[in-house]
């Protein structure tokens, strides 16, 4: 390097990482290259010498950088080279498939007076994916030579060198279109340039230094502060007055990139992108999107019911039933309490819960498919906008959305809310979003109580819960956030075909966790429930559990629950929601062998009582795991107590009103 010889031309090769810059360098220089390190740095430096059209050319490969800030050693090396060595021309290599990003480096290079030639590499790849770049149009818009390249096939490299050579010999013809800034910042820039004139090392272009100062560049700021403290005293107040200039400068660059892209690049008009566009026109539409979402929700229930019910009955009559008979016969020699505990308690309770499996497999599979094709992200987006129109706060909605899986992650997700009061309210409301366990219980019970309209009723129950949620959310927004502004930006991935393995894995993991729960807490509670229904005198109707249930019957009567067994089942759902079914399985077991639990439950409640029971089940006290997380997140027991109290109240009121309304409308 060093001083230029008249017929040797220095060209700097610039570009971001992954643009094929090394390929271009190797193709141009062949074996005539010298590889070493940049003086005093660990970054590799490659220089190649070759002749083109009779001229000796020295090509310097600059480190690959995204921009030219002072944040990394590579960027500092690249800009120092341009400043100190003053190459005749810069060749910037861009990747045709990532033009937006790559053009950013060009906007930074344009702050130097050095002429630039653009080589757009990998045009074959971009054409293949439908991105067409009009090189001539781009050239006219930029005001600098643009050469399309396929470096790996040595296409366009000769033309690239021709253009670089021509520009090196006629530098005055370089009149590029530069990014602009607002007039007030342009004025400051001019003012700063006049202050800097003659007061900075002559190598540094004034305009570049002024722009870097406005951008808050650490290295340049330090240089002026240390070497020219007097100049800094005059410049500092200007910088203080225009603290936001850096946004305007970067913004001007993006605007410039946007303009260039609009002018010269046609994006793909076929294939996945337009398909996604077309689906999203409906799926993310403010009105149609919501309708589609509720439709999808209905479809999920319908599929779960119609596909799972036959399997569930099959499991109950062909597996659990015969297994109970078999166990009873081999345990006939043991004491009555032992055979009762195993058959009526564990098989009748936890065993019945196992018949949930088909519901869960199908439900999780449908959810996994919706997630995998990319619909769930849209559902969250549409729901959030809908909630927002309802006045619900976006930040509390995102964690609440997790509650459809389980309340535990929903409560943990509320950590994204900084404001304590809003967070507490979100945590308190999270259990209102029906989790999969509640949904499974409802899916099991509704067809047992209602022959017709079971799907519609389940759907209605979910909607009622969500309505309560929205109403509560409006209250949150009014009292806790007080109109604080909150915004989210979401990237919606392209739709794609579901992957069987992903779906299988998701279903499998969820099923495994369910079986673990059934084999531990549900099994233990089944044994305990059976024990208390057996003690003290082996008569369920006179058992401890019956006394507890009967003691609560006056409260149950208000909601039409005259049967103590339903009250006990509800209470037990506090341990885990599935325990409702386990408890009913145990308490409704006697003298009805051979019938499925659904068949045994049919007709035990009037429609009004059954509806009230379902509504209470949906709004009852959160399960133990949820309460434990509330304690963990809030740190104080009083919030757990508040949550228990709140849901006791909500379910009580909802149960009573459902019962009375049902009695009014039904005959």
């Amino acid at each position: 390097m060093g001083k230029k010889v008249k017929d040797s031309i220095t060209i700097a090769l610039a570009g971001q990482p992954n643009v094929g810059k090394s390929t271009v360098f190797n193709m141009l220089t062949g074996l005539r290259q010298h590889v070493g390190n940049w003086p005093g740095k660990t970054v590799e430096r490659a220089i190649g010498k070759f002749t083109h059209n009779g001229k000796t050319i020295e090509l310097v490969d600059l480190p690959g950088t995204y921009s030219l800030t002072s944040n990394s050693e590579e960027e500092r090396i690249a800009r120092d080279f341009i400043i100190r060595e003053k190459p005749d021309v810069i060749i910037a290599i861009l990747n045709a498939t990532a033009l937006e990003r790559n053009l950013y480096l060009v906007t930074e290079l344009l702050n130097f007076p050095t002429p630039i030639v653009l080589g757009i590499n990998m045009v074959d790849v971009s054409e293949h994916s439908g991105i067409h770049i009009e090189a001539h149009v781009l050239e006219a818009a930029l005001g600098m030579p643009v050469i399309p390249l396929v470096a790996t096939k040595n296409q366009g490299l000769h033309e690239l060198m021709d253009a670089a050579l021509l520009l090196a010999q006629n530098p005055t013809t370089f009149k590029p279109n530069r990014p602009t800034m607002q007039s007030e910042h342009q004025t400051v820039l001019t003012k700063m340039m006049s202050i800097l004139a003659g007061n900075i090392p002559h190598l540094y272009p004034k305009e570049w230094v002024a722009i870097k100062l406005l951008e808050g560049d650490a290295e340049i700021t330090a240089m002026i502060q240390n070497k020219s403290p007097k100049i800094w005293k005059r410049i500092e107040p200007l910088l203080m007055q225009h603290e936001d200039a850096y946004l305007d400068i970067a913004g001007g660059r993006y605007k410039w990139i946007g303009r260039m892209m609009r002018a010269s690049v046609t994006q793909p008009k076929a294939g996945v992108i337009t398909l996604t566009d077309r689906i999203d026109r409906v799926a993310t539409h403010p009105t149609w999107g919501v309708i589609l979402l509720f439709g999808a929700l209905g479809l999920v229930f319908w599929l779960t019911y119609s596909l799972a019910n036959p399997f569930m009955n099959w499991l109950d009559t062909l597996l659990i039933g015969p297994l109970s008979e078999f166990m009873r016969s081999i345990l006939s020699a043991t004491r009555a309490w032992f055979s009762g505990l195993i058959v009526d308690g564990i098989l009748g309770g936890a065993g019945t819960v196992i018949t949930f499996l088909p519901i869960l497999v199908i439900f999780f599979a449908i959810i996994a498919i919706l997630e995998d094709v990319g619909y769930m992200a849209r559902a969250a987006y549409v729901m959030d906008r809908f909630m927002h129109r309802m006045g619900l706060h976006g930040k509390s909605f995102l964690p609440l959305f997790l509650g459809f899986g389980c309340s535990v992650p929903a409560i943990m997700g509320s950590r994204i809310i900084e404001e304590r009061r809003a967070r507490i309210l979100t945590i308190l409301l999270a259990p209102l979003v029906p989790c999969t366990a509640r949904m499974a219980v409802i899916t099991f019970l509704t067809p047992a109580f209602f022959d017709r309209g079971a799907i519609l009723i389940t759907w209605g129950l979910v909607v009622v819960n969500l309505v309560i949620l929205v109403l509560a959310g409006v209250a949150i927004n009014k009292f806790a956030f007080k109109g604080a502004h909150m915004a989210f930006i979401m990237e919606l991935p392209l739709y794609h075909l579901p992957n069987l393995k992903t779906i299988g894995l998701f279903v499998w993991r969820n099923i495994l966790s369910f079986l673990r729960k059934a084999g531990s807490i549900i099994l233990i509670m089944s044994a305990i429930v059976w024990l208390f229904s057996y003690l003290p005198n082996q008569n369920m109707e006179k058992s401890l559990l019956a006394s507890l249930g009967r003691w609560l019957e006056p409260a149950g009567k208000l909601m039409g629950l005259n049967d103590w067994r339903y009250i006990v089942a509800l209470l037990n759902s506090f341990i885990a929601k599935e325990n409702t079914i386990a408890t009913l399985g145990i308490l409704f077991s006697t003298n009805h062998e051979g019938l499925t639990l659904a068949a045994r439950l049919a007709g035990t409640l009037t429609p009004a009582s059954a509806m009230a029971f379902l509504v209470i089940q949906m709004t009852f006290i959160p399960c133990m795991a949820t309460l434990a997380v509330i304690k963990q997140e809030m740190g104080e027991w009083k919030w757990v107590a508040l949550s228990v109290g709140l849901y006791l109240l909500i379910s009580f009121i909802a149960g009573i009103s459902t019962y009375w309304i049902m009695n009014l409308v039904t005959v």
């Binding site: 990532a98 937006e100 990003r101 950013y104 946004l247 305007d248 970067a250 913004g251 001007g252 660059r253 993006y254 605007k255 990139i257 946007g258 892209m261 609009r262 690049v265 994006q267 566009d277 999203d280 993310t284 959810i367 996994a368 997630e371 990319g374 769930m376 992200a377 987006y381 959030d384 906008r385 927002h388 976006g394 930040k395 995102l398 997790l402 899986g405 389980c406 535990v408 992650p409 943990m412 997700g413 509320s414 950590r415 994204i416 502004h485 909150m486 915004a487 989210f488 930006i489 979401m490 990237e491 919606l492 991935p493 998701f506 993991r509 969820n510 966790s513």
Partner: protein, 77 residues
């Protein structure tokens, strides 16, 4: 352009990258690129449902849905 984007983000509610790209008349890629820039400058924060914060301590994180590649940002200032 960055200020225009920031003004759109200042409005309450959820926005998709597509929606922003239509309003600013630029490509979705450029919007994403600007969002990364705003993230680096501390105007927005990426919500990480996976590798840090709430989810790591959750016993159910393995089961939890959530596309790893999908990005969500929240506006902070």
């Amino acid at each position: 352009m960055l200020e225009k984007l920031l003004n759109l983000l200042r409005e309450e509610g959820i926005k998709s990258v597509r929606e922003l790209s239509e309003k600013l008349e630029i490509t979705p890629n450029l919007v994403l690129f600007m969002l990364e820039d705003l993230e680096n400058r501390g105007f927005i924060r990426k919500i990480n449902f996976r590798s840090n914060s709430p989810c790591t301590k959750c016993p159910l994180s393995d089961l939890c849905q959530g596309n790893k590649d999908q990005r969500v940002w929240v506006f902070i200032k």
